[in-house]
Structures are given as structure tokens and as C-alpha cells.
């Protein structure tokens, strides 16, 4: 334990003293890859490779056709060279044994990757047990966590497995919150998604542990199209963690995930993300394009809480949203979005109030450094029938240096007069006087910035499960290194 702790402290020190992206390396794992480009045939091949039922193939083909007619959106306040969608590899599955006897059997390249990420041996063992959908239990050290979940009737598996083993659930819910036609990227994802996670919490069950998934981009030129579907049945509760790191690349990597959450009556979903895709080098070359559609629906008395710490990607386009359909439903969005160097982010949330007495809270903290651009875009929509509804939004931006930018685009629509919407916004800078004050108390400039940034993000970091909060703090520190002074 103490050895492990020391290791992680050393690791932190090392990170603090090196400004290059720490997780920038690639893994040479033999992959089962199909040729570049997108066509109806490619969609069919993907579906066939996964041995999917006809309804799934039909779903994909319909999405593909819709996508062909759609245009890539350009209303976001970001500018980038649009990817050539014919230059992307749409299917690649790492060839790996699904279950290993010991770590010695693990692909040595994969082992090296884990080591570089500083993942402890215990965690590595758990990670190595599952091949594509890398799943681990962040709470108990016991390996029996799948059994524990099964005892409660919880299903937690890859979406591919769910399509095979629980087709009725997938068929019933897939695309109900984010229809394929919702937007350009969701259509693309619906046509070609390769994998992702599926989770079902039965009625009245409180998930006994945090569910967490690690995703990595592993194949050169491979777009990542993850699909996550999480269903919390009536009165159930779940906390889900999602975290990513990506290897360094020279060409831009496309990432277009779709996440759908369904919170039935009285259910409670907490969805936390730490996003650390490769942001590109200081000039912005080679970073990941992250175009994500995340949305949840809340039925009566249900609650969905999105928490995200976004430090990576060259371009981010992401608006985790809540549809508050049932009466008394609650939606929350807590976000820290960091941009540094040439990074661009256009992120925020949408809170759609449909039910009566629905409540939403938005706390968005942007941090811009270097020559980056951070944008908050949020929509609060209170429909006519959503009487006595409430929204509170707070959007803060912190600027480091004078070459970066930040913008806030709040859109508010209230269609009844018993509801109340409050919006607060601030822009601040880290003051030289704050840094000197810390210095005078023996706290060096790097540590002072980390401290001040942590204080600024406190309301959001407090929402994260403990271990994740620590990881998030580390990421904030790394991503802001050398950005002041």
C-alpha cells in the first residue's frame, strides 16, 4: 500500500516536471482491421464480423443512409480541417485472449502500455482479464465483482455482448434517447459503432460499486465510435465512471461516441467522465477530434447527474444533456473544461424541462491557457407544461495569460411564468498577487497554480468519486504545466 502510494507520488512529481504529454505512446498490438473508408459494404462487414442479428444490421444501414444526407455541423465556435471520412478505418478489434491465467500471458506491448500509464499490478490483472471492453472494479480488490453484480441482476458488459445476450433490451432502448438522425456524428456512430458498454440496473437495485470503463484508441488511423447504453430501471441507483487516455499520433484521430442514459421513475444515475485524449503538440498537430453526443432521459422523480473533467483533445464538441420528462425530475451538469496550447473546446449542456417541478443545475468551469479557446454553450429550455420548474446556471471562466480566449453562449427559453431561471457568469484571471502570496508561504509557482485551479474547480471536483477526483486533479496539473510565468 505505502509502496503504491510512494509510486504514485513519484509519478506525480515526474509528471509535474515534464511538459510533454505523458500518455503519448502507441501500442503495437496485432489488430484485425478492415480497409479504410466508409460504404454500405463496410457497414455490412462490421455487422457481420460481430455476428449481429438482422435488426441490428438494419439499424446501422438506416443510420448510414441518414448520414449520407447530413452535413457536418459548423455552428460550434471551433475551426479545424474536417476529417476525410474515407480515410478512416472503421473497424479494428485488438486480437487478444479474453481471459488470461496470469499477467505473464498478457501481450507484452499491452503490459508496457499499462506500465507507462502507471497502473498498479493489481489493477493490471483486473484490466487484463477483459479484452476489448476493459472493465475494472474501482472499489473492492476482489476479482469476483462480476459475480457480485450478477447476484443483483445487474448486467454490465460490452454492447456487442449485449446485442447477442440481451437483444430485447438493446432493441427496446438503443437510439431512443439519441436517435441516429439526431446529428451528423450520432448518425455516423449509429452506422459504424464498434463497441462500447452496456449496463442495466434492475428495479430497486442500488449498484454496490462504481462501474468504470477504460477506453483507449489503439490502432493507427482508427476512428473510435463507442456506444454506451445505460438503463436504470425504476428506483435503482448507479454511479458510472468513464476515463480515457490516448496514444500520440501525427494524424488527427476522429472520436465520435454516443452515450444514452435512461433513468426510469425514481432512478438515479451519476455519470462521471475524465477525458484526456491526446490534445496534439504545442502547435496543435496530431490531436484527437472529440465529437460526442451524450444525453439522458429522466422519468418521474428520476435524477441524472453528469460530471466531467475535460483536459484533452484538439477539438471538443460535447454537450451532455438531460431531458427531464417526468414530473419532479432532476438534471445536473458539473463540468471543468481545460484548454491549453492550441486546443479548442465548445462544450456545455442542454437541460430540457418537460415535466412539472423539474429542476436543473449547471456548474461549468472553463480554464483557458496558451493560445487556446474555450467555449461554454448551454441551453435551458422550459416548456409550457413544465410548471414550477427551476434552473440555476453558473458559468465561470479562468484565463491564464493573455493569448487565450473564452466565450459563453447561454440560450434560455422559458415558456411558462411559474418557472425560474437564474444565470450567473464570471471571468477571472489567476493573479500575480495570488501566486506571490502562495510563493511567500513556501508554495512554488507550479504548485500554486495547481492549488488555485483546484480551488476554482472545487465545486465540480467534489462531485467526483474520491479516486477519480485525485486522478482529475493530477490531470489538471499536467495539462496546465508551464502555462503561467
Amino acid at each position: 500500500m505505502s509502496e503504491q502510494k510512494r509510486q504514485s507520488e513519484d509519478e506525480l512529481l515526474e509528471k509535474v516536471t515534464s511538459t510533454e504529454y505523458k500518455y503519448g505512446f502507441t501500442t503495437d498490438i496485432e489488430s484485425d482491421t478492415i480497409p479504410k473508408g466508409l460504404s454500405e459494404d463496410v457497414v455490412r462487414i462490421i455487422s457481420a464480423k460481430k455476428n449481429e442479428p438482422q435488426w441490428m444490421l438494419d439499424y446501422r444501414l438506416k443510420a448510414y443512409k441518414a448520414w449520407l444526407e447530413m452535413e457536418e455541423p459548423d455552428w460550434a465556435n471551433v475551426s479545424y480541417e474536417k476529417p476525410n471520412y474515407q480515410d478512416v478505418i472503421y473497424y479494428s478489434a485488438p486480437k487478444q485472449k479474453p481471459v488470461l491465467d496470469s499477467l505473464d500471458d498478457l501481450d507484452p506491448e499491452m503490459k508496457k502500455t499499462f506500465d507507462k500509464l502507471g497502473i498498479s499490478l493489481d489493477e493490471q490483472k483486473k484490466l487484463a482479464n477483459v479484452a476489448v471492453d476493459i472493465v475494472m472494479d474501482s472499489v473492492s480488490v476482489a476479482t469476483s465483482f462480476k459475480e457480485t453484480l450478477a447476484e443483483k441482476g445487474i448486467i454490465f458488459c460490452s454492447i456487442s455482448d449485449a446485442i447477442q445476450d440481451h437483444p430485447e433490451l438493446v432493441k427496446k432502448y438503443l437510439g431512443t434517447v439519441v436517435p441516429a438522425r439526431d446529428n451528423f456524428f450520432s448518425a455516423l456512430n449509429s452506422a459504424v459503432f464498434s463497441d462500447g458498454s452496456f449496463c442495466y440496473i434492475p428495479k430497486g437495485v442500488k449498484c454496490p460499486m462504481e462501474l468504470s470503463t477504460y477506453f483507449r484508441i489503439n490502432e493507427a488511423g482508427t476512428g473510435q465510435f463507442e456506444r454506451t447504453l445505460l438503463i436504470a430501471d425504476e428506483g435503482s441507483q448507479v454511479s458510472y465512471l468513464e476515463g480515457c487516455t490516448a496514444p500520440m499520433r501525427d494524424e488527427n484521430q476522429l472520436h465520435a461516441a454516443v452515450v444514452e442514459l435512461i433513468a426510469m421513475d425514481d432512478a438515479d444515475i451519476k455519470y462521471s467522465t475524465v477525458q484526456n485524449w491526446y490534445p496534439g503538440n504545442a502547435e496543435g498537430v496530431g490531436g484527437v477530434f472529440n465529437f460526442v453526443t451524450k444525453r439522458g432521459i429522466c422519468y418521474k422523480n428520476a435524477k441524472i447527474s453528469w460530471t466531467q473533467v475535460e483536459t484533452g483533445s484538439a477539438v471538443t464538441w460535447k454537450y451532455p444533456s438531460c431531458i427531464l420528462k417526468g414530473d419532479n425530475a432532476i438534471g445536473e451538469f458539473f463540468s471543468v473544461a481545460v484548454t491549453n496550447n492550441r486546443q479548442q473546446a465548445d462544450t456545455g449542456t442542454k437541460m430540457i424541462h418537460l415535466g412539472k417541478n423539474t429542476k436543473s443545475t449547471i456548474i461549468a468551469k472553463g480554464i483557458s491557457a496558451g493560445k487556446s479557446d474555450g467555449n461554454y454553450r448551454g441551453l435551458v429550455k422550459i416548456s409550457k407544461g413544465a410548471t414550477n420548474s427551476r434552473n440555476f446556471s453558473q458559468c465561470d471562466s479562468l484565463l491564464m495569460g493573455d493569448k487565450c480566449g473564452s466565450h459563453t453562449f447561454p440560450y434560455i427559453e422559458v415558456k411558462n411564468n411559474s418557472s425560474k431561471v437564474e444565470h450567473e457568469a464570471t471571468t477571472s484571471k489567476i493573479g500575480e498577487d495570488q501566486i506571490f502570496y502562495c510563493n511567500q508561504r513556501g508554495i512554488g509557482t507550479e504548485a500554486a497554480i495547481a492549488l488555485i485551479v483546484n480551488g476554482y474547480c472545487k465545486d465540480v471536483l467534489n462531485q467526483l468519486p474520491m479516486e477519480f477526483a485525485v486522478e482529475a486533479q493530477k490531470l489538471l496539473e499536467i495539462s496546465l504545466e508551464g502555462s503561467v510565468g
Binding site: 498577487d433 495570488q434 511567500q440 508561504r441 513556501g442 508554495i443 512554488g444 492549488l451 480551488g455
Partner: protein
């Protein structure tokens, strides 16, 4: 302990300190007085290493070491403490977390492990008692929404926790009510020892009734124009600065 020799410093073209000479020995208490804008805070900032000010000449040594060579945090690690005239807010960071970080960084610089949380909390309780600080204060955010007096008390609390060798108190008395002044002054007195030294910058004799100085200096227009014993402060309180500054104006005209 502290030796300042012909120190000249300023901002851009504007020279604020025009040749300061001052020696402070261990165990001593020095008071610096002087009209507004004479350079008292600038002097304390330069000693603490604020890079806003450019040192144009002269030297500062601290226990024989060239202080001007060190970063502000290194000076702090060596035992230099400045109680700010205008303490700064660090939103979202609790007093306890800030002080913990501060002490850990200092210990790290000395090659020591962080203090166990239990010991740290015990020490905080003791010092809080010494300064009559109310419960609940540790979890407030650093200076955020603090009243003027609370900010000053917070400075002295940090001083008590860090146990510096040289403490410079820049107008710590202004903003304190009568009771708080006495409490803070008593606190400072209790922390005094033969190994450490205190420099108090003040406008009022009142503080010096509690913290009795060995030396009193008058800083005016970037220079120390007069030094004396504790009685000098009384004289200034009575007669104002005119009688000393006029002479200086003539001399430096």
C-alpha cells in the same frame, strides 16, 4: 540575521527605495514607521522576493546567505515570513488545506516527510487557542469573504504555524479592533524567542505599547532618515513627521 546594504529598488523607471541600510539581529524587534507612500511595503516586498520590483543595487543577506539570489518560496523555506498589508483571497481553498500545503512544501524543501495530519491538526488547535480564533475557521476559504480584521488575524495564524525566523508584519494592526490588537500582539510576543526577529511596520504607537521595539526607524522617500529607540515612536506620535522629513528634504534636495 538580516543585513540590508544600500538597497535600491523600484518599478520600471521609478526608483522607490533609494539606498536602504538596515541590520536586524536575532532576538530583536524593529519598528518601521513613515508617511504613506514612503516605501515600507515595497521594502517588505523586496525582502520577500516580489518580482514586480526590480533591484537596482545593494544587497540583502539573511544569515549570511544572499537573499536576492533566492526565489520567494526559497526565502520562505529559509524562514522569511511576510504578513501582508493586503492579504490575498484564494477562492475554494480552505485555510487548513492552504496551511497544510504550505507546511508540506517547506518540509519537502528540508527533505522531510509531510507532518502527519493528526499532529498538524493538534498544532492548529493550539495556535487557534493562542490567537482566540473561533471554531469553523479552518474550513473557510482563504481570505474569501473575510473581514479586514479576520484577514490580519489569518496572517498571524499562518505565522504562528510556520514559526519563521524573520517575521515582517506590514500594518498588521490596521483593521484590528482593540481586543484583537491585544490578542494578536500577545500572540506575536509569545512566539518571540532569542532565535527569531520581528520587523513591525506600523503607523501607530498603540501597537508598540504591546510589542515593544528595540529600534524604531523612520522611512521617508525611500530612505531611512532617522533611527532610535522605543521613545522615538512616542516622539513621532506627538509631533508628527514634519520635523524629521524637513531635515531630510534639505539634505537630499
Amino acid at each position: 540575521m538580516l543585513k540590508i546594504n544600500d538597497l535600491k529598488a523600484g518599478i520600471e523607471e521609478n526608483q522607490i527605495l533609494k539606498g536602504i541600510n538596515l541590520e536586524v539581529k536575532a532576538g530583536e524587534v524593529h519598528a518601521i514607521m513613515g508617511p504613506n507612500g514612503s516605501g515600507k511595503s515595497t521594502l517588505s516586498a523586496v525582502i520577500a522576493g516580489n518580482e514586480d520590483y526590480e533591484v537596482e543595487g545593494g544587497s540583502i543577506t539573511f544569515n549570511g546567505e544572499d537573499l536576492l539570489e533566492l526565489d520567494p518560496e526559497e526565502r520562505a523555506h529559509n524562514g522569511v515570513f511576510l504578513s501582508f498589508q493586503y492579504p490575498v483571497e484564494i477562492p475554494g481553498i480552505s485555510v487548513s488545506n492552504f496551511i497544510k500545503t504550505s507546511i508540506s512544501e517547506k518540509r519537502k524543501a528540508q527533505g522531510l516527510e509531510p507532518l502527519p495530519t493528526k499532529d498538524l491538526l493538534k498544532m492548529m488547535r493550539e495556535k487557534m487557542e493562542l490567537l482566540s480564533i473561533k471554531q469553523g475557521y479552518l474550513s473557510r476559504n482563504m481570505n474569501e469573504g473575510f473581514s479586514g480584521g479576520e484577514k490580519k488575524r489569518n496572517e498571524i495564524f499562518q505565522m504562528a504555524m510556520l514559526e519563521p525566523r524573520l517575521a515582517i508584519l506590514d500594518e498588521t494592526d490596521s483593521g484590528l479592533d482593540i481586543d484583537a490588537l491585544r490578542i494578536v500582539a500577545n500572540g506575536v510576543n509569545k512566539l518571540k524567542s532569542a532565535d527569531n526577529a520581528t520587523v513591525v511596520i506600523t503607523h501607530y504607537q498603540r501597537l508598540l505599547d504591546y510589542i515593544v521595539p528595540d529600534f524604531v526607524h523612520v522611512l521617508y522617500n525611500g530612505r531611512i532618515i532617522k533611527s532610535g529607540g522605543a521613545e522615538l515612536a512616542h516622539e513621532l506620535e506627538e509631533k508628527g513627521y514634519d520635523w524629521v522629513t524637513k531635515e531630510a528634504d534639505k539634505q537630499w534636495a
